[in-house]
Symmetry: none
Amino acid sequence: MTVVEADSGGRLRADAERNRARVLDAAQVVFGRDGPSVGVDAIACEAGVGVGTVYRRFPTKQDLLRAVIERLGDQIVEEVAATATDAPPGERFDAVFSTLAVRYAGSRALVDAVNADEAGAEEIPVFRARVERALRPVVEAAQGAGAVRRDVRATDVIGLAGATSLLAPPHVTGDAGLWLRARSVVLDGLRPDAATPFPDDAGPAGPDAAR
Amino acid sequence: MTVVEADSGGRLRADAERNRARVLDAAQVVFGRDGPSVGVDAIACEAGVGVGTVYRRFPTKQDLLRAVIERLGDQIVEEVAATATDAPPGERFDAVFSTLAVRYAGSRALVDAVNADEAGAEEIPVFRARVERALRPVVEAAQGAGAVRRDVRATDVIGLAGATSLLAPPHVTGDAGLWLRARSVVLDGLRPDAATPFPDDAGPAGPDAAR
Amino acid sequence: MTVVEADSGGRLRADAERNRARVLDAAQVVFGRDGPSVGVDAIACEAGVGVGTVYRRFPTKQDLLRAVIERLGDQIVEEVAATATDAPPGERFDAVFSTLAVRYAGSRALVDAVNADEAGAEEIPVFRARVERALRPVVEAAQGAGAVRRDVRATDVIGLAGATSLLAPPHVTGDAGLWLRARSVVLDGLRPDAATPFPDDAGPAGPDAAR
Amino acid sequence: MTVVEADSGGRLRADAERNRARVLDAAQVVFGRDGPSVGVDAIACEAGVGVGTVYRRFPTKQDLLRAVIERLGDQIVEEVAATATDAPPGERFDAVFSTLAVRYAGSRALVDAVNADEAGAEEIPVFRARVERALRPVVEAAQGAGAVRRDVRATDVIGLAGATSLLAPPHVTGDAGLWLRARSVVLDGLRPDAATPFPDDAGPAGPDAAR
DNA sequence: CATGAATGAGGCTTCATTCAT
DNA sequence: GATGAATGAAGCCTCATTCAT
C-alpha cells in the first residue's frame, strides 16, 4: 500500500502539509461563517477532503478550533505589523483598531470561543497575549503622540475592538452604519481630550498591570 | 363536573405558573451561562423538574429561548424605567447604559442570538423595538441636556451597550476593571465634546431616524 | 374530601359508571379512527374527561384497548343477532357478512390488534370465539338452505369478513366500489355451486375442527 | 487526489452497497413482522449495524419505509413475471394470486401503510400502479381464457390478494388451513360461472377502467 | 374522585470520532 | 496516507403513567 515510489515520503509529506493548510483554510472560513458548532463534515467538504483527513491532522475538533485561533493570532500580528506603517501614530492606531475589529467580526468562532470557556480555553490567553504584544507599541506610540488617552491599556483596546466587532457585518446585517458609528464613538472615547478619569477601582494602568 | 371547591383549578394553575416561572428562571440562568446550545436537560435539572415539564410549558426549545428573550425584554424595560429616575439626564443616561450592559452580560444567549439570527429570529426585532422604545426618551433627554452627542441614535447606544457587555462579568472574570474602563471609554465617546462627526455613509441621525 | 353527602357513594358510583362508559365510547371512536397508537390524551379529550379519569377506570392503555375489543365483541354479537332476523337464511348470511365487515372496517384498533400480537393478545381468541359462536348458527342455517357451501367453517367466514373489511372505508378511500365488488366476489365464492373442493391439507371442516 | 488504486472507490461502494442491502433486508423483515411503528434500533440490530449506518443510507425512517415499499414492488413485479410462466392462463392466475398474497402477508408494514396512508404516502400510488401493471396481463389472459370473470379489474384482484394475506402465515399461525380455504373461496368467487353481477354503484369494469 | 401537571423512559436523529478499504 | 462508511453517545421531543391538588 504505502510502497509506491522511492521519494514517496517526501512527496507525501509535502502533500500532507498542503492538505493541512487546506483544512485550516476551510476551517477558518467555515468556523468564521457558522460558528464553532458547525459540523466537521462541512469543514472537510469545504476543504475538499474527507473527514478522515481532517482528523489525521487535527485529532479533535477542539484542536482544529485551537489551530484556527492560533492562526488568527498569526494573521492579526502580521496584519497589525503591516497596517498603515507609514501613517502618523494616531492614524495608525485608528487603522489598526479597525483591522482588529474586522478580523474579529469575520470570525464568529473566535468571538464565541473567547466568550465561552468551552472552546480553546487554553489558547485564548496565549492569543490575547500575542495580540497584546503586537498592539502595545501601536497604542503607546499613539499615546506618545497625544492621539490616545494615556490611561488605557492595550488589553482595553483589544477588548473594545472585540466588542465593537459584534456590531460589524456579518454579525449585524440590517444596519451597516451601526458598526461605523460605533467605531467612531469608541475611537472618540479613546482620545485624550474626551477622557473622563477612570473610576478608582478600575485603576489607571501601571506599566505592568496587564492581565 | 363533580362538586369540588371552586378554586381548585386556580390552585393548580398557581402551581403550574410557579413551575413555569421556575423553568423560565432556570432557562435564563443556563442559557445566559452556557448559550443557546445548552441541553434542555440541563435547564430542567437547574429548574428541579423533569424534561417533560419543560416541554409542557414550552413546546419547543426555541419557544423557551423566545420566552427568555421576551422576559429579558420585560426586565430591561422595567429596570430602565426604574433606574436613576431622579438623577439629572446625563447621569441617568450613564446609569441606564450600565444597567443595559450588565443585563446583556448576564445573558449571553441574547448576545449570541440577537447577533446571529439563529435563535428566536422573530422575537429579536420585537425585543429590539421594545428596548429602543424604553431607551429613546433617556437618550433624548440626555441629548437635550447636552450630555450626549446629538447624532447618535438609541439603537447605537443599545448596540454599544450590548457590545460592551462582552467585557462585563460574568464573561470576563480575570480583570474586573476592563469592563469599567471600557464603559468609561464608550461613555466618553458619547459626549458631545468628544464627537468626531460620523463618516458620511454612516449618516447622522435625524430626529426621527430610528431604524 | 370524600365526605360530601350521605348518598355520595351511590351517586358517585353512578357517576363513575357513566364516566367509564364515556371513556369507552370515546376510546372506540378514537381507536377506530386513528388506530391503537393514538395517545391516551386524545381519548380523554374525546371523552371530555382528564387522563387521570381514564387511568382510574383502565389501569393501562392496553386494558382500555382490551375493553374496547371486548365491547366490540358485545356489539357484534348483538348486531348479528339482530340482523335480518326475518330474512331467509341465505340472505341473512349475506347481511351478517356485511355487518361483520363493516364493524371491522370501522375499527382499525381491532384490525391492527388482531394482526399484531402486541395488543390485547389474550382478548383476541376470546373475541374470536364469541363471534364464532354468534356466527355459527347463521352459517349453518345458510348451509342447510343450500346458500353456502358446506365445507366452510364459521371461522373461515369471520376471517374473510375481517380480510374484506380492509377494503372498506375508511381504510380504502379512493375507490368505494372496490369494497362492494370484493364483498360480492367473496360471497360468490362462498356459494355451493362455485365451490372447488378445498385442497387436502386445508381439510374439509369436521364438526369439531374449529381452531 | 493521491495515487491510489483506481477501484478503491468501487470497493468501498461495494461494501456500502452490501450494507445498504443488509439494512433493507432487515427493515423488510422487521417492518413486515412488527409494523411501521417498530423502532429504528430494532432494524439496526437485526441488520447487525449501528443506528448511524441506517441513517447514513436512509435519512429518515420514512425514507427507509418507502424504500422497503419500493423494493417490495420490485420483488412482486419480478415474482409475478416469473410465476408459472408456462402454465395455462387460469392456473397462472391462481398461482400469481397466491404469490401476491404471500408476499403481502410477509409485509404487514405494507398492508398497514398501504391502507392507512400514514406511511410513505407518496410511494403508495406508485407501488399500486406497478403491481397493477404487472398483474393486468395475467388477469386479462385469464379472463380471455374464460378462467376469471370479466367484470373484475386488476385492482380488485390486488385488493383481494392483499385482504386475503391477512389470513396467511406468518400472521395467522394457529390454523394454516384457514388461509388455504380463504384463498380457495376467493378464487372460486372470481370464476365466471360463480359470478353474481356486481351491484350497480360498484360499476362493472370497462376494458380500460383501470383506476 | 376528577383533574391535569409532572415524570422519565424511549424514539428519532445528529455528529464527533474511529476504522476498514 | 486518504477516504468516507460505521459507530454510538447525546440531543430533542413524545407519551404512558403517576401524583399533588
